[in-house]
Amino acid sequence: MISAKGLSVAYDKKNVVSNFTMDIKEGEIVSIIGPNGSGKSTLLKVISRLMNASNGVTYLEGNDVHRLPTKEVAKKLAILGQHNHSPSDCTVRDLVAYGRVPHKQWYEFSNYDDNSIVDWAISVTGLQEFEHRCVTTLSGGERQRAWVAMALAQKTKVLILDEPTTYLDVSHQLEVMELLKKINEEYKMTIIMVLHDLNQASKYSDRMYVINKGKLVMQGCPSEVITKKMLRDVYKIDAHISADQVSGKPLFFPLGLLKNKDTKEMKSKIV
């Protein structure tokens, strides 16, 4: 579905992402994790053609995403950024209807099909009762669902999200994650996202990519990725890891930061 080969991105000659390679299959939920400033968001922007790579290529169904007409990409891939803002009088329905823009010529108005797709996106995200409320008056979780609904109305096969649960309380976080899972299961959408909450990433992802200082550290299913060693190496924390009784997926509980001495010891061990 989406694959990246040897991606590098540089800001002012400093590499933010270097030589990153990934391959994502249709229907997968993949999350990208890593510490702050590790290049996760940059990576998402590059694979969704919002930013140019200085090296390497991203393929969307076999075509270079940067060479495809941007409108064609918009019909196949939707990306939801971290900070979104809508005009103060924009209702949920107005916002969701913008998702139809890539499917329209500049002279076309929305037709019956567009309206039913908008209806569908609103009902999948459970926003029927808020349909005519202004997006800016909604709570954080509802607002995030409205933006997801807009992305759904684009009718793409791939949905990319940058920290979709940041700033939300735990129940709204779960609500958004459950929604994404439902979209993935029922409509076979491929989902790629950056997440900060490792337990959520573990619970909801088929596969995870770990990125640190712009480099791919490891990738694999949650039980391969969420390990004591990874948490020590990448996040510099000491943690206890157990398995979720229902799903068998790994859960971690942070015990504390590694002391400087430990870090040094660890480094010397690696060397």
Binding site: G81, S86, P87, Q128
Partner: protein, 343 residues
């Protein structure tokens, strides 16, 4: 429960649409009424009946001459220029996502002023060429702003900063010339404050095709303008080619302002205030907001022109001055009255 909320929803949608249509009807009626008033008032007053009679059977040739050759082109020009300036401002506010964006910001007005004043003060013999040279000057300085703002693509903040800097430089040039040639400045003042005095059908004919093209491009880009309001990344996600969209919309705005300023002189304010008024009335959806801006721009300029030529008749005031004096308080009133605007 479900059906009840659906019913309520349907009602809400209809209510909003009805409100928007109502406002459009009101705006258009207002424009028609003002256009009629504009034909009636001036140094001589006519009744609507007299005008209609004169137009239909040509009984009184004096009325006919005044109405057809003087007041009609003047009113038509006010409509075209008002619509162009307001549309230009609305487009720029979409691209620059800044409430202070106006046609003045991208250098077109400052460039037109400097080139026009240079001709009028230094080469008075070439004054006939002022519209042409002002237009070119406006476009050149806009191009300068864009070139300075371009660095692997065009960022909003760079356009705004480059615009402010270019405006300051060109404005300095204009001030310098008016100080150095203060003895000749009298003839330039009307132009610098914008005036519709002494305009004929020639200017209307000159303006009409360009304004038509500019407005057409503007109307066709409402979807792009709407997407741009969601932010750069969201717009790009929706398949908008950001740099292309910015260039097309800014050039259209510069073109509409440049051609208007070239013909009638500097009229600020319309491009800044009217899009806000329009947004307060019909909301920020450009499918409604843009046409409403065009109509309101025409309304504002026609009414300002009526005031400009009647209050101190027979002395004509520059229309730009009237606009600022009357439009400012009106806008502040709206700003205070409409809750939730500016958040």
């Amino acid at each position: 429960m479900q059906s009840q909320s659906a019913k309520y929803a349907q009602f809400a949608v209809r209510k909003r649409l009805a409100k928007r249509i109502g406002i459009f009807i009101a705006e258009i009626s207002l424009l028609v009424i003002l256009a009629v008033i504009s034909l009636r008032f001036g140094s001589v007053r006519f009744s609507t009946g007299e005008i209609i009679n004169a137009l239909i059977d040509g009984s009184d040739s004096t009325i006919r001459t005044i109405v057809v050759n003087i007041r009609m082109p003047r009113t038509a020009l006010a409509i075209l220029v008002g619509a162009s300036l307001a549309t230009s401002g609305a487009l720029l506010q979409a691209v620059l996502r800044n409430p202070l964006a106006s046609p003045g910001l991208i250098g077109v007005i400052a460039g037109a002023s400097l080139s026009a004043i240079t001709i009028m003060l230094l080469f008075p013999a070439l004054t006939v060429l002022v519209p042409f040279i002002a237009f070119i000057g406006g476009l050149v300085s806009t191009l300068l702003v864009f070139t300075l703002a371009w660095k692997k693509g065009m960022s909003i903040i760079r356009i705004i900063l480059a615009g402010v800097a270019v405006n300051a430089m060109l404005g300095g040039g204009t001030s310098l010339l008016s100080v150095l040639y203060s003895d000749r400045i009298q003839g330039v003042i009307m132009w610098l404050n914008g005036t519709l005095a002494g305009k004929s059908w020639d200017q209307v004919k000159l303006l009409l095709p360009y304004v038509a093209v500019g407005l057409l491009v503007a109307v066709l880009s409402v979807n792009v303008a709407n997407s741009l309001q969601l932010g750069d990344e969201a717009a790009k996600n929706l398949g908008v080619r950001l740099n292309l969209a910015r260039i097309v919309l800014c050039s259209t705005a510069a073109f509409l302002t440049g051609i208007s300023v070239a013909v009638v002189g500097i009229i600020g304010f319309v491009g800044l205030i009217v899009p806000h008024v329009s947004r307060l009335l019909v909301g920020s959806d450009y499918r409604f907001m843009l046409p409403s801006s065009a109509i309101l721009g025409a309304v504002l300029l026609v009414s300002a022109d009526i005031v400009a030529r009647t209050v101190f008749s027979p002395i004509e005031l520059p229309v730009g001055v009237i606009m600022a004096v009357l439009g400012g308080p009106f806008f502040l009133y709206l700003l205070r009255k409409v809750r939730g605007y500016g958040h």
